[in-house]
């Protein structure tokens, strides 16, 4: 028996070695590199930065000479907040991102909650199909779904919505529908709605119908039953869904790039620009570090509530 246990322990060690090594190399190490590069100085080179670890001649160990310029820039913008004429591009991008992500989350919740609720309350035979129909767009190409909105919202008289409006005589000239915040919001809600609906559904479908009957039996009006029973019991689903929408929405880059105009600043786009056209990798890394720091709270929330939500599903 002792030998068998030893074997198992050894077996576990070897099984664990592969994922441990993989995650250290392709997740932990890259994150350490982000930290390092965020403390580096940009330079025209390949890669385009100078390491903060400087090996001086004669020294055995490299010196650590962090360049805080990237963080200082973010800090300066914070200090200049409220001053007229200050250049606040990063702060504005942050604000835009958080605002859009929050609006997206709210809209997804408002649309998705009754939607998920009614799916969960529909006939059992129909639920499967209804749920599959929510998943289906999610499995098709994300880019092409955004593209669909590009042709719907096109601002010329060729745009589908504009053509409808013109034909109906509601407007005289085509509306500027694309390349603004509204377009980005529509695209984000469209893309992220399944992320809200699925955890809500998973939660609501478990809701014991007898609880609602008990509440009604005790004299509660339907809306009171909803407020006092259904809503509190689905809290975990709401938090999980909201975080699953909010977190990727903050870092979203593709949708604002395709549907938003040049003035729709978002922080994901800022990272992309600094990384790509601007070749300022230390700045991109510093923004990424702040993004991780900002998102730690919602990620922790998701971890706590999402886990409980999932465990509930097994009970």
């Amino acid at each position: 028996m002792k030998r068998a246990r030893c074997f198992l322990l050894r077996g576990h060690f070897w099984v664990g070695l592969l994922p441990w090594a993989w995650m250290l190399l392709f997740f932990a190490l890259p994150f350490a590199l982000i930290l390092k590069v965020s403390l580096s100085t940009p330079e025209l080179a390949v890669p385009p930065y100078v390491s903060p670890f400087v090996l001086e001649p004669g020294a055995a160990l490299p010196h650590f000479r962090p360049d805080l310029a990237s963080y200082r820039r973010l800090h300066d913008e914070l200090r200049a907040l409220g001053l007229a004429g200050a250049d606040l591009q990063y702060l504005a991008a942050w604000g835009g991102s958080l605002l859009l992500a929050a609006l997206t989350t709210l809209l997804c919740l408002v649309i998705g909650y009754p939607f998920a609720y009614h799916i969960a309350r529909s006939r059992e035979a129909a639920r499967n199909t209804l749920l599959m129909l929510v998943m289906l767009p999610f499995w098709t190409s994300f880019l092409l779904r955004v593209y669909a909105w590009m042709s719907l919202l096109d601002s010329s008289e060729l745009g589908l919505i504009n053509r409808l409006l013109l034909a109906a005589g509601l407007v005289d000239a085509p509306l500027q529908l694309l390349y603004n915040r509204g377009a980005v919001l529509v695209g984000m809600v469209y893309s992220y709605l399944p992320f809200m609906v699925l955890p809500l559904y998973a939660n609501l479908v478990k809701l014991d119908q007898r609880l609602l009957e008990a509440a009604a039996d005790l004299g509660a009006q339907p809306w009171m039953t909803f407020l006092r029973v259904t809503l509190p019991l689905s809290r975990r689903g709401i938090v999980a869904g909201a975080m699953l929408v909010f977190i990727p929405a903050v870092g979203e880059f593709v949708i604002p790039d395709l549907l938003g105009g040049g003035d729709v600043l978002m922080i994901g786009r800022k990272i992309w620009d600094d990384f790509g056209p601007n070749q300022d990798w230390p700045m991109a890394a510093a923004v990424a570090v702040t993004m991780v720091l900002v998102l730690i709270v919602p990620i922790a929330l998701l971890h706590r509530h999402g886990r409980a939500n999932g465990n509930g599903a097994q009970r």
Partner: protein, 299 residues
């Protein structure tokens, strides 16, 4: 529910499904135009589908994406199952919490951050042996991302599995390693298949990681589509979208059919053998056998 409430519920379902499907429907309809404009049905034709077949750049991108997807999904199933096994079976040990965090974090990190971090790795002079940016880098990035999803899927399946099954096999004279392949793997097989398919679609669909890690020789389908969207819209993209929607719908419908018939068989069997509770399967798993709602519900 009153008749009015029921009508309201149905109306809301119809409205939201319309919101989800009308844009896709438009894409499909206008893919059959004979003209050059993506929002006008200027005569019916399959012109753009023929164009699609002649588009060598696009076909190359599709093939590359399929290849990367298949390899990334396979690697993710291997790494993810191993990770799930460690998470579900090894209990607590020094570093176990860090490991749990690491394996699932790619699921909740914005892709831009993951992409940037991996670019820094692959361009770092010390890690030049990894080959720099290119197909291999995209494969590694997709594997890392998909591993998180596979881990969650397989882990929940492992936790759901009755440990007594493995003990029974041991008790009947099966050596531990053999138990894993003869009992554990077949029992969690549905999760492995679901994980592979999920990983494959994620990889096929990923733009951000692929774009950041691509070099001129490694244009995956999403990278190519993104570039084309910036160059101006052509109904060819509609045709491509229609093909993808058709393939995915077909696959999902077939999968659903298989799942439903399996479920029906199981229900009939359960009815036949009245008054029993087959061990350890919740109603939720029956309805949702590949835990689609579960992976999304608790990363």
């Amino acid at each position: 529910m009153s008749a009015r409430a029921r009508a309201g519920a149905t109306a809301w379902l119809v409205v939201v499904y319309a919101f989800l499907y009308l844009p896709i429907l438009c894409l499909v309809v206008f893919s059959f135009t004979a003209g050059e404009i993506t929002t006008e049905l200027d005569g019916l034709s399959l012109r753009w589908y023929a164009e699609l077949l002649r588009d060598e750049e696009l076909i190359a991108a599709v093939l590359l994406s399929l290849r990367v997807g298949a390899f990334a999904a396979s690697a993710a199933v291997i790494v993810g199952s191993a990770a799930a096994f460690v998470l579900a079976r090894c209990g607590r040990y020094p570093g176990s919490a860090a490991f749990a965090g690491m394996t699932t974090a790619p699921m909740v990190m914005p892709e831009v951050v993951i992409g940037l971090s991996l670019v820094l790795l692959f361009t770092h002079p010390v890690f030049a042996f990894l080959g720099g940016r290119g197909v291999a880098a995209i494969w590694a990035a997709h594997t890392t991302l998909c591993t998180a999803y596979v881990t969650v899927l397989v882990q929940s399946r492992l936790r759901e599995m009755d440990r007594a099954l493995e003990e029974a096999a041991l008790d009947l004279g099966c050596a531990p390693l053999k138990v894993f392949f003869v009992i554990t793997v077949p029992v969690i097989a549905p999760a492995l298949v679901a994980g592979w398919l999920l990983a494959f679609t994620l990889s096929m669909d990923d733009f951000v990681l692929a774009a950041m890690l691509s070099d001129p020789g490694s244009t995956t389908l999403p990278v190519l589509v993104f570039a084309r969207l910036h160059h101006g819209l052509k109904p060819e993209i509609n045709a491509l979208a229609t093909v993808i929607v058709a393939v995915v719908s077909l696959a999902v419908v077939i999968a659903n059919r298989l799942m439903l018939s399996a479920q029906k068989k199981r229900m009939a069997a359960a009815r036949h053998a009245a008054g029993i509770s087959p061990a350890g399967r919740s109603a939720v798993t029956l309805r949702d056998p590949d835990n689609r709602s579960e992976w999304i519900a608790h990363p």
